[in-house]
Assembly symmetry: C2
Homo-oligomer: 162 residues x 2
């Protein structure tokens, strides 16, 4: 491995660590358990599941991997706060949407070269990227990884205390 | 910037983002507000403040930067769960311990070369590192960054809803 590949490897391990633990947390929850709020008056687990599915699905076009698969999630899980309403789709479908997005992302990530990671994401113009080369795909990965860990910290509050 | 430096830059920006927002969250809290639990029966903000100060302080020897400054935090904030007991030191001193650790870390981070980041941390032996070169300083930074985002997701649950 070149040193550049070692940097990519570290970032991918950090991402995979959070993806795996979040998918495991949601995987064992029933429909009823997904109705729990992470704290009084705060988001339900169901909302966080749909929210993460939507955010990761949006990473597909953002990183130039492919088109959205589930734009129908945005209204309930991204553009609006948790209303407490029933989900528009079964919770199993939400779990699948998250897993499918994570799988499509990983499929691309595991093929990219270091140069691919340092290339621009699709939400920045060529002109802006020339001035701000840190707005690359790697920065998206790292910020979405923080986002994932942020919500995992909330999800675990509904689990039995160790 | 070389491409290796760009990788380091992205990792440092991601770390700084979380450090800044966590320090800002704690900075505005009074002693009384720090007594709030992030969810019923869960850690108090005070505990998370001491916990993050202890974990970041431990990064100093772990990354070969220098000795611990606040080992006295470990018993209450690392080795034991939140007991609800008063802190052994004033909360202002806990805030200072976190800020001081973050400052000492940043001072080292901003001077390290890409090769420094890929070198081993102090908790792995030479033999193990030869077999598992991913156990480097960069991996510590990324995992502690997830840890920081994880707890920030809990801290914000006590803030007024936006």
């Amino acid at each position: 491995m070149t040193s550049e590949q070692q940097f990519v490897d570290a970032a991918l391990r950090a991402w995979k660590f959070n993806v795996d633990r979040v998918e495991a947390s949601f995987g064992k929850l029933s429909d009823e358990q997904l109705q729990a709020q992470v704290a009084p008056g705060r988001n339900r687990l169901l909302y966080l599941l749909g929210h993460l599915a939507a955010v990761h699905d949006r990473m597909l076009p953002l990183l130039g991997i492919g088109p959205r698969q589930h734009p129908e999630l945005d209204s309930m899980f991204l553009e609006n706060a948790d209303s407490g309403a029933p989900a528009p789709v079964a919770s199993a479908a939400l779990k699948d949407a998250l897993i499918d997005a994570d799988h499509a992302l990983w499929n691309a990530f595991s093929q990219w070269s270091p140069a691919d990671w340092l290339s621009k994401h699709t939400a920045v113009s060529d002109e802006d990227f020339a001035k701000e080369p840190h707005r690359n795909r790697l920065s998206v990965l790292l910020s979405r990884n923080s986002h994932l860990a942020f919500h995992h910290g909330q999800i675990v509050l509904t689990e039995p205390r160790r």
